[in-house]
Symmetry: C4
Subunit: 359 residues, 4 copies
Amino acid sequence: ADIRNAQDYAALAPHFMPPAHYAYISGGSGHGQSVAANQTALAQWALYPRLLRDVSHGHTRITLAGEEHAHPLLLAPVAFHKLAHAHGEIDTARAADATDTCMIASTQSSYTLEETASAGGARRWFQLYLLPRREDTLDLLRRAEAAGYRAIVLTVDAPIQVANRRALAAQFQLPPDVAPVNLRGYDIAPRYAGNGPGDSRFFQGAMRGAPGWDDIHWVMSQTRLPVWVKGVLHPDDAAALRDAGVTGLAVSNHGGRSLDGAPSGLDVLPAIRAAVGPDYPLMYDGGVQSGSDLFKALALGANAVAVGRLQLYALSVAGALGVAHMVKLLREELEICMAMAGCATVADITGKALFKPAR
Amino acid sequence: ADIRNAQDYAALAPHFMPPAHYAYISGGSGHGQSVAANQTALAQWALYPRLLRDVSHGHTRITLAGEEHAHPLLLAPVAFHKLAHAHGEIDTARAADATDTCMIASTQSSYTLEETASAGGARRWFQLYLLPRREDTLDLLRRAEAAGYRAIVLTVDAPIQVANRRALAAQFQLPPDVAPVNLRGYDIAPRYAGNGPGDSRFFQGAMRGAPGWDDIHWVMSQTRLPVWVKGVLHPDDAAALRDAGVTGLAVSNHGGRSLDGAPSGLDVLPAIRAAVGPDYPLMYDGGVQSGSDLFKALALGANAVAVGRLQLYALSVAGALGVAHMVKLLREELEICMAMAGCATVADITGKALFKPAR
Amino acid sequence: ADIRNAQDYAALAPHFMPPAHYAYISGGSGHGQSVAANQTALAQWALYPRLLRDVSHGHTRITLAGEEHAHPLLLAPVAFHKLAHAHGEIDTARAADATDTCMIASTQSSYTLEETASAGGARRWFQLYLLPRREDTLDLLRRAEAAGYRAIVLTVDAPIQVANRRALAAQFQLPPDVAPVNLRGYDIAPRYAGNGPGDSRFFQGAMRGAPGWDDIHWVMSQTRLPVWVKGVLHPDDAAALRDAGVTGLAVSNHGGRSLDGAPSGLDVLPAIRAAVGPDYPLMYDGGVQSGSDLFKALALGANAVAVGRLQLYALSVAGALGVAHMVKLLREELEICMAMAGCATVADITGKALFKPAR
Amino acid sequence: ADIRNAQDYAALAPHFMPPAHYAYISGGSGHGQSVAANQTALAQWALYPRLLRDVSHGHTRITLAGEEHAHPLLLAPVAFHKLAHAHGEIDTARAADATDTCMIASTQSSYTLEETASAGGARRWFQLYLLPRREDTLDLLRRAEAAGYRAIVLTVDAPIQVANRRALAAQFQLPPDVAPVNLRGYDIAPRYAGNGPGDSRFFQGAMRGAPGWDDIHWVMSQTRLPVWVKGVLHPDDAAALRDAGVTGLAVSNHGGRSLDGAPSGLDVLPAIRAAVGPDYPLMYDGGVQSGSDLFKALALGANAVAVGRLQLYALSVAGALGVAHMVKLLREELEICMAMAGCATVADITGKALFKPAR
Ligand SMILES: Cc1cc2nc3c(=O)[nH]c(=O)nc-3n(C[C@H](O)[C@H](O)[C@H](O)COP(=O)(O)O)c2cc1C
Ligand SMILES: Cc1cc2nc3c(=O)[nH]c(=O)nc-3n(C[C@H](O)[C@H](O)[C@H](O)COP(=O)(O)O)c2cc1C
Ligand SMILES: Cc1cc2nc3c(=O)[nH]c(=O)nc-3n(C[C@H](O)[C@H](O)[C@H](O)COP(=O)(O)O)c2cc1C
Ligand SMILES: Cc1cc2nc3c(=O)[nH]c(=O)nc-3n(C[C@H](O)[C@H](O)[C@H](O)COP(=O)(O)O)c2cc1C
């Protein structure tokens, strides 16, 4: 099969994974409204080609919170890469290294953060989920620091696990050789169940263990690494997190896997950019499958863009090579859009580069 | 079959009822435009997740016109529960009791209001249709009072019966063991036929027997129970009813079963809220099948939300247990939405919690 | 088969006519864009039910340009009723008579205007096409006067015949027993062909024979009957025709059978009403198949509404009885909408009765 | 098969060409978003019929940048006509001649510009692509002048070739007898590859060879022929090109074959017209398949309209005769729209002739 565009990996993936794995990965929470919203939001924009501009000095380099990146594409934190390929995160890390891409390793990886770190390059960040006990969270943080991760991405948008109906229908279960190996030895049983009389298992259960502002401050006080917060969709939350001293934000609806019915991050990105000011670091993820998707998110206010599922799709098709190829294609597709839109640098990509047809 | 969401009962119901019953229940009047409008209206909204808020004291309790309810979900008045399950209203009442849910028993029930009352809990309201003769209406009202119903919901939006085309196509007929047993002994033959020369059977027939303002005043004068009016869609009608001293209103297009072509109550809810002021009790029904549907209606101005068809769907699948399970699921789905939207109480759910993607 | 709504005749008609006849009747010009626009335009509106209003004195009577009508529904001029049923216009006229409906007989009828007149009741209008020669047009007009037609409806929106692609694909041809019998003995060969050097067969052909302002004045000067003009879509044309002394206008895109790509009359009706003032007589036609369609057109500015295709559909299914039944159903459907919208008279039906959901 | 409308050639073409050729011609770049946008943009407009206007002096003649044309329809530059028919550009040129149509011969033609010129009539323009070496470009320009081409259309919107996925999927390759024969003897190997360390093959490759402002000035300085620029979509580019002294612009997204995701030229045409002023020559192309499409583009600001694919479709079906017939049909369809919209001349076609239904 011919692979011409990054998106082709999405079409091929179902042929390279057990159906239940594919259902789990591709699905979203509930009825998949927020998954669909991510695609609809991207599809409504067109790109203005611009003529005769000299972009022969063009490049995709960016500086993100002080750090240089070869291009604005990151690998979003995604759990259990082994579901897509036996080499799992090891291969993803190799591909990230080969393509100068920053990989954000998930707390819920199927190889340990140390294994992933030693397989990959220097550009690596760690996605942190708060564990029920602070001492465990701290240990995880210290291990990430020790393994050379350069930034912490604290994901706070999933205090409650909402079922993925497609995964359930396909009777998805973690296979025996796939587990959240980073968490071995920690006490990860939820501390609150909310099963007292009159209790809600959400309000008095899960939400009692959910991240709060004190956790944000605590994490920042425990590390010198830059701390990003992932999962922001409301401009007021964005402004408050910026005010709290967080390094940057990932505007994301968790790939439509958290609250079903949440808007696409793309639709709220301009309002969030307006709320945090022009210079505050924002990352976008959700539904990105092409260079023009990347371009649109950058134009609407993101400084960088992460892909989630597409990593696993490419990994399933061809392991490290697949991921590296997918990244290369996406980057080239972005370069084509930039060149044709007359944007020599990522900073040149602004809202003026987009056109919204009135339908 | 796995039931994960309240909505799953809607998908299963056709397998648990005779096709003609299902057609009658699921269908709407005419060509079903207003049934469809209810779903379209709900689907156009997204919910803003909010981060890091402490909702560990959260709960779903509300006070509705002075009465405490464990949650803002009611069972809408629905005729002939026996069509879905032999235990009919008896089982629904049991489920309502078990889940602290207020059941609004229909005038057109297939078990008597007294039977339903003795099967259920304390939280019960009675939906009243005006009968052709006032003495019969009064008798019905007195029986409802005697049976401990705590509020009257006077339905006024169906002065003319508009055919349900799907039911007709399926040749639906009431089976011999299903009848409007509450009405036994009353004279329910329409008093006006409109068949004089030049007469319209609607203007000079049905509409002559239709509820008028005098009936509203008369009902209120005959009972100490709170009187709600059900079936309001126009802000001016809402304001006039509030001015007339009615306790509260059910904003509803009768599940798309009255005037085909009527808007969804959801689309007019904000204007009605604006017309009646912030504190006047409003209930919403129409198309609700999930916790996020509930959340949306609450955010757009309702104080409580009722489900119609979903009761019968759950009843058909598993009797009392099904209804109780459906209510539990809906409530949990609402709690998840509230928790993730950072709303600790129903009062926290406002229009600011919603996002409308510009498409 | 059960017929519950006027619209059911549309569904049944294909089973009661040769496919080519059905293609000719149901189709529109070109690719059918304007046919589709008529339905889309109607579908975008919802109707506000209103509560508790006394409409027991309600009726559908209207006065149209000084003439009383039992209801605001007319039978639009439609060519060749024989294509639908051997009794053709004779049966339509009988049905119109039986239902107190004004039939607008087409110039291109398959029974003569005299035959149609003697079969029908007193309420009949004549649709006039200008013939190539004035003396023939005048003869036709005199015959219509003599046969007791009470108004002239001058159709001016079809100066060029645009092919009906569906009819062509079905190889439609007029059968031998169907012909424009009114025109026998007239010279109906087009007077202009536009085939000189550099000539366009449209500009220098058909359009040279097209109706002009002088024709409007000439027709009005030749008859004492009220003269309506049919086929208006632009507000400026409407205002000019009113200023010219025309009795009233039919806002119509000719059922999507003239310029393909013309807007639906419904979409332009409010602007035309605004242009001609509140009291000037306007008729609407295009896509009407139900009482709520009628209601919508009345609410948006029409004083009366005509149906085209539905006549032939009903005629094909059951002759005079079918047409009479269709009219009765439509009228009843209108009465239901009026009663439920709290409109006792047609004059009560205003734009305030409609709601347009923002999608 | 019956051919009634120009558009019918589009439906027939797949039966007259190898599938791979059809895929290459009909497809667009990437996922075909811009191809689709061209049709959506046209479909959203309706045309106002106008009544009773005298258009018997009507005609389609226009003056375009000082040159008289019998009608506002041009044949857009399209590569390799031999893919559609063995006679290729020769037959197209004959058809153009027979129908008084201006053919814009492509640099990438499959017969030489000299062969095409001698087959056709006097009204011919030449579409120029800049070649890697200026001396070759100049030679091509001189040949076009010598062969009697009357204007140069410099295409600048395709600095990067974006793959046509449908052509790739169909494994399209140029057959041995089809080649860019105009370029024989020139050095057409790209001068820049962008394969130094850290180089992008787009920024430091293709874009280094892309047309710049200096090229525009250089071409204008090398010829006395009027110079049009093709491929403009942004109003600022349009204004700058006008200021640079370019004769006129082709507003075009290259038939959706360049940047996938570019807007339709139709959607940006009004803004471009506003930017360049009322009198500056603008051509439109993209998606045009009917007279009403032509009319819409003229109404939205174009002075002339070109068709691309439809030429090849007609050519494939019936060679020169097909193209001539297609042009005749399109012109007649335009005349019908003009006549019915009351526009006697192309100048009468303005934005006021269009209606945009609010959906
Ligand atoms: C299978 C899967 C697992 C994920 N696991 C995590 C995770 O462990 N931590 C996290 O912050 N986000 C996780 N995400 C969300 C991604 O980081 C990202 O927000 C999302 O995938 C972006 O949408 P996309 O997949 O459409 O590109 C996961 C997403 C998927 C699809
Ligand atoms: C089968 C059926 C019977 C109903 N009977 C009554 C009734 O007797 N009285 C009443 O006020 N509403 C009745 N309704 C309307 C409901 O109270 C409610 O307005 C509607 O069902 C809400 O829409 P939903 O079914 O989409 O939730 C009925 C609805 C259904 C589906
Ligand atoms: C088969 C057919 C024949 C028609 N013939 C005429 C005609 O002779 N004169 C005329 O003014 N309109 C004619 N019309 C147009 C109708 O008067 C009317 O404008 C149109 O049918 C209304 O749209 P509807 O068919 O969707 O109701 C014809 C329409 C149809 C469908
Ligand atoms: C097969 C094909 C080849 C084309 N080749 C050229 C070309 O050589 N030069 C050019 O300027 N445009 C070229 N175009 C673009 C056309 O000039 C024109 O912009 C486009 O086809 C208009 O869209 P339409 O095909 O929908 O009418 C080509 C288009 C097609 C379909």
